[in-house]
Subunit: 382 residues, 2 copies
Amino acid sequence: MIPKTALTLSGDRLATVYKLLGDEELARTKANAICIEQTVEFPANLITDDDIRGKIFGQIESFERVDEAHFEAKISYAIESSGFELTQLLNLIFGNSSIKPGIRVERLELPESLLQAFKGPRFGRNGLRKYLGVEKRPILCTALKPMGLSAKSLADYAYQFALGGIDMIKDDHGLADQSFSPFEERVELCAAAVARANAETGFKSIYIPNLTAPADQMLRKAHFAKKAGAGGLMISPGLAGFDIMRQIVDEDKIALPILSHPAFQGSFVINPDSGISHHALFGQFARLAGADATIFPNHGGRFSFSKEECQSIVNGTEVEMSHLKPIFPAPGGGMSLDRLKEMREFYGNEVIYLIGGDLHSYSDDLIDNSRRFRKIVNNSNA
Amino acid sequence: MIPKTALTLSGDRLATVYKLLGDEELARTKANAICIEQTVEFPANLITDDDIRGKIFGQIESFERVDEAHFEAKISYAIESSGFELTQLLNLIFGNSSIKPGIRVERLELPESLLQAFKGPRFGRNGLRKYLGVEKRPILCTALKPMGLSAKSLADYAYQFALGGIDMIKDDHGLADQSFSPFEERVELCAAAVARANAETGFKSIYIPNLTAPADQMLRKAHFAKKAGAGGLMISPGLAGFDIMRQIVDEDKIALPILSHPAFQGSFVINPDSGISHHALFGQFARLAGADATIFPNHGGRFSFSKEECQSIVNGTEVEMSHLKPIFPAPGGGMSLDRLKEMREFYGNEVIYLIGGDLHSYSDDLIDNSRRFRKIVNNSNA
C-alpha cells in the first residue's frame, strides 16, 4: 500500500485521443490499461490514495466506436504530469503505450494552461510570408543535392535557383557535415551565393541549411548558420529529438524560420493501427516543437501517403492550439512541375511546394527551370 | 546533368541488412530504391558522375529470400556519408526509407573505421559488474513509483529497497521534473537514502535517476545527479534523441552507467514489416549511443514482445561490434518474482532483472520483499 499524498494540482487536464484496434471489450481493456501505463505504471489495486487515483491516473473522458474495427478513447492526464516540458509531454502521451500493439495517438487536446509553457512557431504562416515577402501565392522550395557534390557545386546550384526566383533553397536532408561538403564551408558558400543572386534579382530567396549534427553541436551550428547569412534552418526531429528543435526555435539570437523534416519519423505513421497519426506528428507535435513548416511526402510521389493522410496533416498544421501559430504544410517527396495544378487545387495557397530532383530534369538550365516553376505558380495565382 | 566530382573516399563501407516485404520483383525494386533514397535522393539517370554512382549510391551487396513473403537485402554505403556522427548515421541507415512501407532495418554491419568514431558503452557488462561488485549472478533492479508520490516518499522506498539488497534502484521513467517530485529534490533525497542504507548493509546499491528533461537541461541535470551521489542515469533515447545519450556517456566528468529506456520507441518495433528490428534498436543502436544496459519489455508481461524478439535483443547486446562493449539486457514490463526461475533459464546470468510494481504486491514490507527477490536470485545461482 502506498503512502497517502496531498497533491495540490490545478485540476486542468490535457487529453489525447487514442485510436484502439479491437472489439469493444478489447478496446476498453486497452483504454483502461493506457490510464495506468501512461501514469503510475503500478498495480492499480495497490493504490488506495484518493489523490493519485483521482488526479494522476489517466481518465477516460469519452469512448466511442469509429468503425467496425476501431474505437476512439479520449484520455486525460493532469497537466502537471507533463512537467510542462516537451520531452515529458511526449512520454506522458505515448511513452510506454507506443510499445503496445493496436494503439495510435490520433489527436492532442491541450489546454491553454499547458500550452503557455510552449512558445511554438516563431513565424508561423503569416510570419513566414512577411519574412519572405510573399503575400498570397504558394511558396516555392527546392533542395540542394545530390549528396557527393562539393560545397562549391551546391552553392552554384543555389545561385541558379535563387536567380530563377525560388523562395526557399534548402539543403537536402542527407547533407550533414561530410568531408565532401563540410557544413561550415557549404553554409558560407550557399548563403553568399543566394545573397549574390538576390542582389541581382531583387527577390528575397533564402538559403536553409540542413542541421543534422551531434547534440552538442546543434546550437553552435545554428548560430554559425545565422551569422553566415542563412535564412532558415531545417531540422529532423526524428534524428535530433523534438526538444532540440524547440531549444533552437526559442533562441532569440537565432530567430530563423524552421523547416521540420520527417527523416527517421516514418515508423510512427507507416502503420495505421499503431504509432502516431499524420495529423498529430507532422502537425501538432511539429508546432509544439516550434517548426514553421512541416515537410512530408505528398500523395502520389515516391512515398505512400494517401490524400486523406495529407489532408489530415494540413488540418494538424492549422487546428486551434491557442497561441501556437498555424504553420505551412510542405509536401514533397518526388513532386514535379506537372503536379502543381493538382497540388494547388488540393492545398490552396497555404502551402510550400517542395520540388527537388525534378527541377533538374527539364533541362540543364536550372535558372530557366526555376523560372518555369515560378511562372506556373504565379499564373495559377492570377 | 550534375557536375563531375573527384571524391577521395576511403573505400570502406558500412552495411545495413533490410528486410523487404514482397515478392522478388517488388523486393528488388525496394532494394534499388533504398540505394538512391538513402543517399542522393535524385533521379538516378541524371547522375552521370562515376564517383557519385560508384561511391555514394547505396550498393546491394546481397539479396536473398528469407521466407515466403520476405527478402533480405544487404546494402552498403560509404562510411564518409555518415559524417562519422550518430545523427547522420541514423539518417543514412533509415532516414527517408522509414517512411516507406514494408522496409525494416534488421542488422547493422559497421566497419572498424566507422566504429572508431564512437566510444560506445563506458562500462558494458564487465564494467558494470565491477562497478556494482556483482561477480556472476544476475543483477537486481527495481523502480521507484508511482508517479504522484513525493520525493520523500520515493526516497523512503529507495531506502527500503537498498536495505533489502536491490543492486539498482531506478526512477520510474514517468518521473521527470514534476511539481509533486522535483528532479533535484528527488535525486538528492534518493541518493542520500541509498547511501544511508549502504552504510548499514555494506551492500553497494545504486540510485539511478530518470533523466527526462529539456535538451538544454540534460547535461546540467546529469552533472547535478552525479554530484548528488546518483550511481547511474536512465535516459530514454526516444524522448531525448540518441545523440544526447551519447553526449552524456562521453562526458568524462559524469562517467556513470547508463540505462536506456524504450519509452516512445515502440513504434519502431511494433510492426514486424516496418521500422527497426528489436536486435538493432535495443541492441546495436543502444550500444552506439553508449548505453550499458537496455531495458525492454520481457515476453509474457504487460507487453507483446515474443520470446524470439527478446532473444534477438540479447543477441544485439552482445553481437561483435569491435570495441563497443556488450551490454546488459534488462527485461521488465510486468515481471514478478514468480518469473525469475524461467527468466534465469532464458537469459542465463548476463541479465538485469527489472521488477517494479510487483515488489509491492507481496506485503507492505518492502525490505522483506526485496530480500526475497535477492534470495531467489542468490539461490538459483548456487
